[in-house]
Chain length 205, copies 2
DNA sequence: CATAAAAGAACGAATGTTCGCTCTTGTCAA
DNA sequence: TTGACAAGAGCGAACATTCGTTCTTTTATG
């Protein structure tokens, strides 16, 4: 029987994950040593290796957290019906990304996951799964917009959803490396979607 | 005096760079050891270290190549005037990305550069410089489109250019991790830009 | 022959991980 | 209520290995 409560075990595990996320976001998966993570978490190797069998497992856990965080946030967004048009939707998503990145370095870690997924079949599958989730939510939203006559109907909703997701990923890059903010993307996208004919919402500056 | 021709020196350097690119694209910057690069290039450490003083310098050189390759291709694209509309422009860019990735793993390496730029000020500055170039070409194109009345005029061209670049980056992610192709993005973007009113070019499927 | 390019053994440092020990904790008999 | 016991959480020194890099030697060339 365990000499400590299972809540304490969970807390210790979470403490390790938090330290790992901090270090990985700061220095990347590979340039971060176990010793860095351990000292950030104020743990010894022997203690930590009771919770994660390897550094790779720690990386995988952080990747799961990151991908899940994003897709869960997008799911919530697509369920509360607060995005009356495609530009509002992307705006809502980018501001959500901003919030998650400020809280948990989500955008930085997501980019690291892209890089690592190229060589790790495990991470590649995790990414593909999370992407499929997001794609589903986005596609449903696009179908709604198509039903309302807001978007061209003859193109498969999935294709349009893919483009919107691409936009979000591009935002993550610019947010991380160039300090781009939501307003910039919102105005640009609105102008693009609005075309020359219809009056867009006024830009913010 | 040098015992070999300077052409031979340049060839040897290029051989090293090619090997490094192959290895870095296959396994990432950090997971690739010098020994892998050296054996791919069929060189000894002593030989190779005459051309690059460190692994970091090799990484920086590959990053420069990758970023320059992309921005040079985009510059060529924006100069030959072959993109009559914003959707054509993005389509031309994505197919260029496909070609460069097939030839030199450019998209894969670009993503690695994003990840590495988060912790390396040197790469971050390289990226920012290359991005500024691309942004300039894109902005000029958008201004042209605005002049022709193809895009809403009241939004700064730079903002719209940023969104289009984001789209390209998103395409790189999907191309690398999900085997997305240009046609998918082309149709999706056309539908988005066309809106419900104007007839878009017919989708490809 | 002189020069330097190339080779490859060798180096110290740092990595992820292990293992034997100590200490804390929950349990239960008295 | 209390004391001792068993179990496992936590520790940290030590491990084998691999890393990037150097240095001496050999080879090839103008």
């Amino acid at each position: 029987m365990s000499p400590v409560s299972s809540a304490h075990l969970a807390a210790r595990r979470a403490q390790l994950l938090k330290a790992a996320r901090t270090c990985f976001a700061r220095n990347g998966f590979h340039a971060t040593s176990m010793q860095e993570v351990l000292s950030e978490a104020r743990m010894s190797p022997g203690g930590a290796y009771r919770y994660f069998p390897s550094k790779e497992a720690l990386v995988a856990a952080i990747a799961t957290e990151t991908l899940t965080e994003v897709s869960a946030a997008l799911k919530a967004l697509s369920e509360d019906g607060s995005t009356p048009g495609p530009d509002d939707m992307v705006t809502a998503v980018t501001s959500t990304v901003e919030r998650l990145d400020a809280l948990h370095d989500t955008a930085k870690l997501e980019i690291q996951v892209w890089a690592e997924a190229q060589r790790s079949p495990l991470l590649a599958e995790q990414f593909a799964r999370a992407f499929a989730d997001v794609e589903r939510f986005m596609t449903e939203q696009v179908e709604t917009y198509q039903g309302r006559g807001l978007i061209e109907r003859d193109v498969p909703a999935g294709h349009i959803a893919r483009v919107l997701i691409g936009l979000v990923h591009g935002f993550m890059v610019q947010r991380t490396l160039l300090q781009a903010d939501t307003a910039l993307f919102r105005d640009g996208l609105r102008a693009l979607v609005a075309g020359p004919g219809r009056a867009p919402a006024p830009p913010s500056e």
